[in-house]
């Protein structure tokens, strides 16, 4: 078994998720099944195959870097859970 409940909890922490011990057991076992299925790829020898991360050949075509004002501050802050009208507000850090 690759994903013990402890391991599942550790992965959740990495992913900034909080899960209960019960969820850790269920998710761990489901992840085990899924990862077990994915091990199928080891049947293939890919030593000489270049990884393909995107289907686009000319990825990285950049537009001209020009400054423009597309949105107002009010628009940018519009969907924020908490603001003071100037900034995003988060719980105190220091």
């Amino acid at each position: 078994m690759k994903i013990s409940p402890e391991k599942a909890l550790a992965i959740a922490t990495l992913a900034r998720l909080e899960i209960s011990p019960e969820q850790a057991a269920t998710l761990g076992s489901q992840m085990d099944d899924i990862l077990g299925y994915m091990d199928k790829l080891n049947e293939l020898d890919t030593a000489d195959v270049e990884p393909m991360y995107t289907p686009v050949d000319q990825a990285g075509a950049l537009r001209v870097d020009e400054v423009s004002r597309e949105f107002s501050r009010a628009q940018i802050l519009k969907n924020a859970p908490e603001t003071d009208g100037q900034y995003f507000i988060v719980p105190r850090i220091v």
């Binding site: 992913a15 899924i34 199928k40 890919t46 393909m52 597309e70 719980p91």
Partner: protein, 487 residues
């Protein structure tokens, strides 16, 4: 079949253009249809009722504009696409109150073309699912049988088009999410090649796989919508800067004569239900009788596609969904005391189970010690899968196979075992890995379930025009699809 909401998009477009139908009448017909069918279907998350009618009346006052190819046409849009001033939830609690301040590129293209956005379509949360059962809000039902799923993740779009709530919808397809629900609901669903349509404003799931495309009742309608949304966007560096052909012209008088249709052996054997096999083979026989040459081809790495796809999609998802942290938009937990618990609690209160599962798996396959074994390995196999397609397309003009192993399954049938649900995507996901265009065309009803069956066609890079042309030629010779039995 003579009611306004039953007409094809191209037909209603002509009636709007000639003034025989007003934009207000078309919009009201769709809103009436929504009111009549939504209690049974749950296809939409938001309906822009009065604002859509106001917009339609203003357009009528100015008069038809022949320069705008979708003038006055009511459409719906999958709720993963940003719509200025209209909620965009991605089917997730975490975006329950999110109202974008801009339009997705394809949405602004629709609006410029004169389309009226009348609703946002339900979907699996963040497009993660194959049945629309993963929506945080409601389960969409199939208009052909409300005990069955409409497919997913663009299930709301498919159901809304099939039921006549709109004349077209924009769906998105990361692993089959346009083509599979199109197949389940008996409509046309086109996944353009990667980069043909801008992804700006499409809330990212798997960025190297996601693509928006038309879901319509006819092939000509799909051609018309693709014409509007295709093309380069300087704000999406992965959108292709290539000329957009005239798709409507390409399908005029289309013929299958001499077209080489490649049938991959891996798509026509084990695992395929008898009724899907029969309906799809019937359509292939019809194509042959119309002059197509049937060529056996092979996509030998098909059996590795699901594992490859889910590793890459989950890895990309775990990275993309890191942006939901309760700071700039979306849900923030009220139970947080410090910044770290604010992140974790906001995400746990906002994300559903399947999204959490995929983020966890994606985090695992990208983590130190596992990256090479999973993520890099899958990216290597992805190249082999793409090469399979290119090799096959060296022997034929289009590849052809069923869209799904079965017709629409029952609600609840595949929810207990996530892996079982993933396996239903076997015929659709390879195409996203390859980046090539493809579509699902309704070819009839399954003899056992009476549910729609979709045939898929795949084409080479930037070959959407011949793809649509072949589909149009086949459609013209198939018996017309009946309307679904929804009241």
């Amino acid at each position: 079949m003579s009611q306004l909401f039953d007409l094809s998009l191209t037909r209603v477009r002509d009636l709007l253009r000639s003034g025989e139908v007003t934009a207000e009448a078309a919009t009201a017909a769709c809103l009436d249809r929504i009111a009549a069918t939504e209690p049974a279907l749950d296809a939409l998350l938001h309906v822009a009722g009065e604002s859509a009618l106001e917009q339609a009346r203003a357009m009528d006052a100015a008069g038809p504009d022949a320069g705008r190819p979708l003038w006055g046409v009511p459409v719906t849009v999958k709720d993963v696409l940003a719509t200025e001033g209209l909620p965009t939830t991605c089917g997730s609690r975490i975006l329950e109150n999110f109202v974008p301040v801009y339009d997705a590129h394809c949405v602004s293209r629709l609006k410029e073309a004169g389309a009226i956005i009348i609703g946002k379509a339900n979907m699996d949360e963040f497009a993660m699912g194959s049945s629309t059962e993963n929506s945080a809000y409601k389960i969409t039902k199939n208009p052909w049988d409300t005990a069955r799923v409409p497919g997913g993740s663009s299930g709301g779009s498919a159901a809304s088009v099939a039921a006549g709530q709109c004349f077209a919808s924009i769906g998105t397809d990361t692993g089959g999410s346009i083509r599979q629900p199109a197949s389940f609901c008996g409509i046309v669903g086109l996944k353009p090649g990667y980069g043909r349509v801008s992804r700006r404003g499409l809330v990212a799931y798997g960025s190297s796989l996601d693509q928006a495309g038309p879901m319509t009742r006819t092939v000509a309608d799909a051609a018309l919508v693709l014409q509007v949304i295709a093309g380069h966007d300087p704000k999406d560096s992965t959108s292709i800067d290539a000329p957009v052909p005239d798709y409507l012209e390409a399908i005029q008088g289309a013929s299958l004569k001499g077209l080489r249709l490649g049938l991959p052996e891996q798509y026509w054997g084990e695992g395929l239900s008898a009724e899907v096999d029969a309906a799809c083979r019937g359509a292939v026989d019809l194509a042959a009788s119309l002059g197509a040459e049937i060529v056996p081809v092979s996509l030998p790495h098909t059996e590795y596609a699901i594992a490859t796809y889910y590793i890459l999609a989950m890895a990309e998802a775990s990275s993309n969904l890191a942006r939901f942290d309760g700071v700039r938009y979306g849900l923030r937990s009220t139970k947080s005391v410090d910044l770290a618990t604010m992140y974790t609690r906001s995400r746990c209160e906002g994300f559903g189970e399947e999204v959490m599962r995929r983020i966890m798996l994606g985090t695992y396959v990208l983590s130190a010690g596992y990256y090479d074994a999973y993520y890099r390995k899958a990216a290597q196999v992805r190249r082999l899968i793409r090469q399979d397609f290119l090799n096959a397309l060296g022997k034929c003009d289009l590849i052809c196979g069923p869209a799904c192993p079965t017709t629409a399954f029952a609600i609840g049938e595949n929810t207990a075992d996530p892996l079982q649900m993933y396996l239903t995507d076997i015929f659709t996901i390879s195409l996203n890995l390859s980046g090539l265009p493809g579509m699902s065309l309704p070819v009839g009803l399954g003899r056992d379930t009476g549910m729609p069956v979709g045939l898929q066609l795949f084409a080479g890079n930037l070959q959407e025009a011949p793809l649509l042309a072949a589909a149009a030629a086949l459609e013209a010779n198939l018996p017309a699809m009946p309307a679904p039995p929804i009241a």
